[in-house]
Assembly symmetry: C2
Homo-oligomer: 190 residues x 2
DNA sequence: GTCTATAGGCAGATAGAC
DNA sequence: GTCTATCTGCCTATAGAC
């Protein structure tokens, strides 16, 4: 289990990656904010690449838990999709980009273990959404063209892009507008 | 007018930003590739920030010309939208992210002049798309809910997000699938 | 676990010769 | 316009004391 200091390092590094990118922050940034030395950070996370892996793993696990909660607490596919979009909205409200959306932009500069963890995050999202969409189609509460997989991908792509652009423009309403349209595109007619 | 060397610098730097990000390349990278020295680059573009501004300006101008060509050569709004999505697909085929989508991710780390130029790029796209959408609605060839502006934003967001994710996954087909759905969402029923 | 100190490299940028 | 040489600062990372 990750101790208190390691956890605080991850919290700070996560926020810095989500706002500035993996190539836009340094150990010095994290150390200054936590009032410790860079050497101390290296004790917990020997290299920046290992810190990056830990960040993605933790983010994915937290996201997976949030999806489990949505499944446990909400009933209809339409409401679940609203809640799913709400997860992204929460991140953006903090002026942050999705961690893995940010890292996807920097993909070419990242070590392989980080790349693979990013892919797993998107797979996780796609699999969950695909399940919700397939269920909604079976029940007749959702309607969309093409496969559940393609529809799931369009929703992920749309939410990631909406975050990317809305954050740059400082326009949370823009994200909400695009998110609403995305959900409506499968809750209404296909 | 930009001379031959300056133009070659812009070409190389543009590709590096689109693949690695503004914080993921250096003057040394460009200099090595062009077989000149860093000092020579600084003669043409005194600071990296000024180089960045020039990159966005040139990219926006080229994009605006492409939109003009679409207007001049194609007839119906639906076909124009397909061509618009095709502009993004061309960029992605080169394994590149949209320049301004990439810079939007790094937005927080960029100097103000670059930020403003990025916003102008998105405004340019939005205004053009909005015009196409409004025209299509008037003529009855396009159908969508909400304002042309909101529909335009959703298309931009969707294409940028599809590029972001598809490039990381090395999956051009994924981009094409999402792009097709986006266009179909306004060419078919709203 | 956290520190001081430091290594070794690369970053963006400038001076001045040619 | 392009070069050599150099500056200053920050980067990731390590050694070794406490």
């Amino acid at each position: 289990m990750v101790g208190g200091t390691a956890s605080a390092i991850l919290d700070t590094a996560e926020r810095l990656v989500q706002t500035r990118g993996f190539n836009g922050f340094s150990y010095a940034d994290v150390a200054t904010e936590l009032s410790v030395t860079k050497a101390s950070l290296h004790y917990h996370f020997p290299s920046k690449a290992e810190l990056g892996e830990s960040l993605i793993d933790r983010y994915s696990e937290r996201f997976a838990r949030a999806l489990d909660e949505i499944d446990a607490e909400l009933d209809t596919p339409g409401v679940k999709l609203d809640a799913y979009a709400g997860l992204y909205a929460e991140v953006l409200r903090d002026q942050r980009m999705c961690l893995c959306g940010m890292l996807a932009a920097e993909f070419e500069t990242l070590p392989s273990p980080m790349r693979e963890a990013i892919i797993r995050f998107f797979d996780l999202n796609e699999a969950w959404l695909q399940g919700i969409l397939a269920q909604g189609r079976r029940e007749g509460t959702l309607s969309f063209s093409g496969t559940p997989r393609d529809a799931a991908r369009s929703i992920i792509d749309g939410l990631e892009g909406a975050m990317l652009v809305a954050r740059a423009r400082g326009d949370l309403a823009r994200f909400r507008s695009t998110a609403r349209r995305l959900v409506a595109s499968v809750v209404g007619a296909g």
